[in-house]
């Protein structure tokens, strides 16, 4: 499996740390209801097909990455830097 880092180019999967679902990017406001925090921390769908992940290029440039990936075919659909999405 290879991910194409926007800065470093195609790299082996072992250079990256898998953080979890990209839901972690949508942090609720500090005063949000407990249900929102519960959903943010614990509730995930277990999808067969395209999913959106958060990865970190820890052995490379240190980019946080939003990765679209297919859990059925293992295809890497897209890799984008969080910093560029939010620029």
């Amino acid at each position: 499996m290879r991910l194409t880092c926007p800065l470093c180019g195609p790299r082996d999967r072992r250079e990256f740390y898998y953080y979890g679902a990209a839901d972690y990017l949508d942090r609720p406001a500090a005063d949000a209801a407990p249900e929102a925090w519960d959903a943010y921390l614990h509730l995930r769908d277990n999808i067969a097909g395209p999913v959106r992940d958060l990865w970190y290029h820890d052995q490379g440039c240190g980019s946080w990455l939003v990765v679209d990936r297919d859990t059925v075919s293992h295809e890497m659909l897209s890799v984008r830097a969080v910093a560029e999405d939010r620029a």
Partner: protein, 183 residues
């Protein structure tokens, strides 16, 4: 006052010399990490330009006078050499500055077999057509986080965290001797 002795990270582990490749320690001197604050990249580049340095594009490095500037990761560059104090003071308002002079072990692998040796430890295309002189990559050296820079046609500068110096020398020595043994 006590007389303090500076100990190089690789100490007496280097040099390692085999047929076709030598590994020697580099002493890059002052290493200043510069990470521009959000929206401050242009201001930082303008200050560095006064020192004759370009802000490095990802995967590149440049030289200006007695200074060098290496891309070192997302939004990060290392300036090697003594950046004039007034410029460093002005940078402080626009970027996070960290003195990393003692944080890294820097080595140079050189010789006609250098590419073949590094091919055993770094899973990148390091041939000169794909990784020309001045090119920089953050990539693992076997399992160690490292910075690799091609500093010449037959040489690479390898940076690892200082605490990894002994392991890095061990890994490189093993690769060097096994490449040399193949003749």
């Amino acid at each position: 006052m006590a007389s303090l002795i500076e100990t190089p990270p690789c100490g007496d582990l280097l040099p390692v010399i085999v047929t076709g490749a030598q590994l020697v320690e580099l002493r890059p001197g002052p290493v200043l990490s510069i990470a521009p604050f959000h929206g401050q990249a242009a201001a930082v580049a303008a200050i560095l330009a006064e020192a004759g340095l370009d802000w490095p594009a990802p995967g590149t490095s440049g030289v200006g006078g007695s200074l060098a500037c290496l891309w070192a990761g997302r939004g990060t560059a290392f300036v090697l050499g003594p950046l004039p104090e007034p410029l460093a003071a002005r940078l402080a308002g626009h970027a996070a500055l960290t003195d990393q002079s003692d944080a890294w072990a820097a080595m140079q692998l050189r010789g006609p077999a250098a590419e073949a040796v590094l091919a055993r430890l770094v899973s990148l295309d390091l041939r000169i057509a794909a990784f020309p002189e001045g090119a920089v990559a953050r990539a693992p050296l076997n399992h160690m986080a490292a910075l690799v820079r091609r500093s010449g046609a037959d040489r690479f500068d390898l940076w690892v965290f200082r605490s990894m110096a002994q392991t890095a020398v061990h890994e490189l020595k093993a690769a060097m001797t096994s490449v040399a043994a193949r003749g």
